[in-house]
Symmetry: C2
Subunit: 340 residues, 2 copies
């Protein structure tokens, strides 16, 4: 039978009971005699009936759908986060709908999200430039009136939302330390936003690492880009062309693997050998990292877990800020400097 047309009334009629009773066997709540339950179940099966979660939502005030806002899904980093979140959500009977970043930077941000009556919202925050930061805070405050919110990313601690975060400054500090251990002294850094508002931001850790190694922090070794491969390529190319070759960095820490890929391309075009002349360190450990030449050393930020954790946190209603795990994945793109 055509399941799309049957309602709880059809089932009740078919089974010869009230809709209340049907509802009870559906939700396995209240007491229903074994005989009645059987009749109802038979009717449900016969009609191939599926209760409408829309109608259920009308009374329960729940939509069983979560929203997620991501900078962009085309960076596999976010696809991983989304996948982890989506899987976890399904396990809990929820769906996730993806909203574009623009829906949070719009004039009327809440409109498109709020009228969906989401059960919750996960916002993945990156590249917090000052104006972006300001806008985001306003929007989040508005959206918070409608639904619980969980943040993913390195957000400033004055953001008062449950958050899954990772210690990006610490990771960068250790990255510098790792490269110093390989004999590098001219270590460049390509970040996402120059004036990121976060005390946990990457370049803070980068500078800390430099300081620990008693290395100078040189402005021309720092560059910023929008996180794409093309931007990474342009950023490193710009750096190289502004420097005499003897000052060229021997290692570069990239914002993410895309930028790292771009850096490799720029280096190659300049005739640099990888990794002998330039070590490159990425972040996110994308699927293609092991297949680049040389295989890219990167940071596994366990994105799928991150996404799953965010959903758990959102559904739990807890207010905590949790630190996600991470690890370096050493491959071939960072070499001891001076060794041929």
């Amino acid at each position: 039978m055509n399941g799309s047309e049957s309602t709880i009334y059809d089932i009740a009629a078919e089974a010869g009971v009230s809709i209340t009773t049907v509802s009870r066997v559906l939700r396995n709540s209240g007491c229903v005699s074994a005989a009645t339950r059987k009749k109802v179940e038979a009717a449900i099966a016969r009609y191939n009936y599926h209760p409408s979660v829309i109608a259920q939502g009308m009374t329960s005030k729940k939509t069983y759908t979560l929203g997620m806002i991501l900078p962009k899904l085309l960076n596999p980093n976010y696809a991983m986060i989304f996948t982890g979140a989506n899987d976890e959500a399904r396990r809990n009977g929820h769906l996730i709908s993806l909203f574009p970043w623009s829906s949070i930077s719009d004039e009327q941000p809440a409109l498109s999200v709020a009228n969906r009556r989401l059960d919750g919202l996960i916002v993945c925050v990156e590249y917090l430039s000052p104006d972006r930061n300001e806008r985001l805070q306003i929007t989040l405050k508005e959206l918070r009136q409608y639904m619980p919110i969980v943040l993913i990313g390195c957000v400033p601690s004055y953001y008062d939302y449950p958050t899954i975060t990772y210690p990006m400054a610490e990771i960068m500090r250790q990255a510098v330390s790792y490269l110093v251990g390989l004999g590098h002294e001219k270590i460049a850094f390509i970040g996402g936003t120059e004036a990121d508002q976060d005390e946990q931001r990457r370049d803070v850790g980068y500078m800390e690492g430099l300081k620990e190694a008693q290395l100078p922090c040189i402005a021309s070794y720092r560059a910023f880009c929008d996180g794409t491969a093309a931007a990474g390529e342009a950023a490193l190319e710009g750096m190289l062309s502004s420097l005499l070759p003897s000052y060229w960095p021997t290692a570069v820490i990239a914002l993410n693997d895309l930028v790292a890929m771009g850096c490799m391309a720029a280096a190659r075009k300049r005739g640099l050998r990888l990794p002998e002349d330039l070590s490159v360190l990425g972040c996110d450990n994308l699927f293609c990292a092991p297949y680049l030449s040389p295989a890219l050393t990167s940071v596994n930020t366990r994105q799928q877990e991150l996404g799953a954790e965010a959903v758990k946190l959102l559904l739990s209603g807890e207010e905590k800020r949790v630190d996600a795990g991470w690890e370096f994945v050493i491959r071939d793109s960072c070499a001891r400097f001076g060794q041929q």
Copy 2:
């Protein structure tokens, strides 16, 4: 004011009109006097009111959400399709929820999808092994009772659904022809499923291309894998180790870029030079293709357009089957054979 709590009743009360009138100004339908409209709009603004699309859906029988089923989002190919679809859906006021492939291969496939009362479903079909094909047909037939369905992919023509498809056999035929033009005679093929049910399947085109060039079709040059880089690596490695080096293929056509990446890794491990000793041709033109060494020649299947087209088709209700565009993207991974 807290928008999450206001309903059409609050607005009506605030504006001193009936909810019918509020509904009318909301939907811009019927005639409302300018004065009344103004009062209502003021009340809406004051309460920061957003009508519930859930409640609207109760009467309109629409949820304004579409479902999408993908093999896996972690292959950027699908992320591109999803992104194109999601953007197009939003432009039309719809949301897309992603369902895992398992929800269609489950015992109770319809259950999880049907009770969501989706306005439509897009299913991205790949790697149709015989049992998968059979299962899929049953599931689609069931789901079709509940909602319109659009397919993306190379599905057999006996699938009677609106479909966005691409001429994969033709693409592969031209790929062979391209490699033959470069002087290759030993051309391997790594596909997705040996017994794919589609007359449009890739290996059909591969064999056609071989025939056109009057080249023999050698079984040991055909392999199949599940579409991951690791599987591609294993597939080519298996092929090489089963063949005397003098019989090794000089070119390989891979199912997709992931498999191509795996092939490159396998070749490198065997000491083959790329592309001099082995040309590799991928498919999907992933973002990383230009950054591999050598930069991977691939096929741009315009995935975002594909996704957008699927949404348009679904929303239009048309029954047609449309052929998507595509193009080769020539880079450096395919070289003239014999030329050093």
